[in-house]
Symmetry: C2
Subunit: 80 residues, 2 copies
C-alpha cells in the first residue's frame, strides 16, 4: 500500500526557506501572501497489507530518519 509522510517545522521554529520564498513572492508582486512555511513530503510504497501495520512502520521510519522530532513534526497518511 501507498504511504506519505509530511514533515513540517514545528511552530515557532525559524524557517529560512519559507522566509526566502515569501520574499521572492513579494518581489514577484504576490503581495497577498504571508506566513510561508516550507515542508517536505516523502511518498513510498510499503509491502504490507494491514493498514495499521503500515501506519506503525511509516511512523517508525518518520521517527528514525525522515523527521528531526526536536524541530519537526510529522504526519502519516496511508492509502489503500
Amino acid at each position: 500500500m501507498k504511504a506519505a509522510v509530511t514533515v513540517r517545522l514545528k511552530e515557532g521554529v525559524l524557517d529560512p526557506q519559507g522566509r526566502a520564498i515569501e520574499h521572492a513572492l513579494h518581489t514577484l508582486g504576490f503581495a497577498n501572501v504571508a506566513d510561508v512555511r516550507a515542508g517536505k513530503i516523502i511518498e513510498f510504497t510499503l509491502q504490507e497489507t494491514d493498514p495499521e501495520a503500515a501506519r506503525a512502520e511509516a511512523e517508525a521510519m518518520a521517527k528514525r530518519l525522515l523527521a528531526n522530532t526536536v524541530i519537526e513534526r510529522y504526519e502519516v497518511r496511508i492509502e489503500p
Copy 2:
C-alpha cells in the same frame, strides 16, 4: 485563507533524494519500503476571501516560482 502547494517530481524524472532516503531506510532495516519519492509542500496564508481567487493566485505562484513545471507537477489545496 490558508493554502498549500504540493510540488512533486513528474513520473519518470530521476529522484536522487528519494533514492538516498530509500537506501537509508533499507540500511536501517525497513526492507518493506520501495518507490520512495521526495517532494515539497509550501503552506501560506492569502489575504483573499474568495476561494476561487485564492486558488488562481496560488496556481500563479506555483507556475511562476514554486514549481519547475518542466520536471515537476504541483497540486493546490485551499482551506477556508
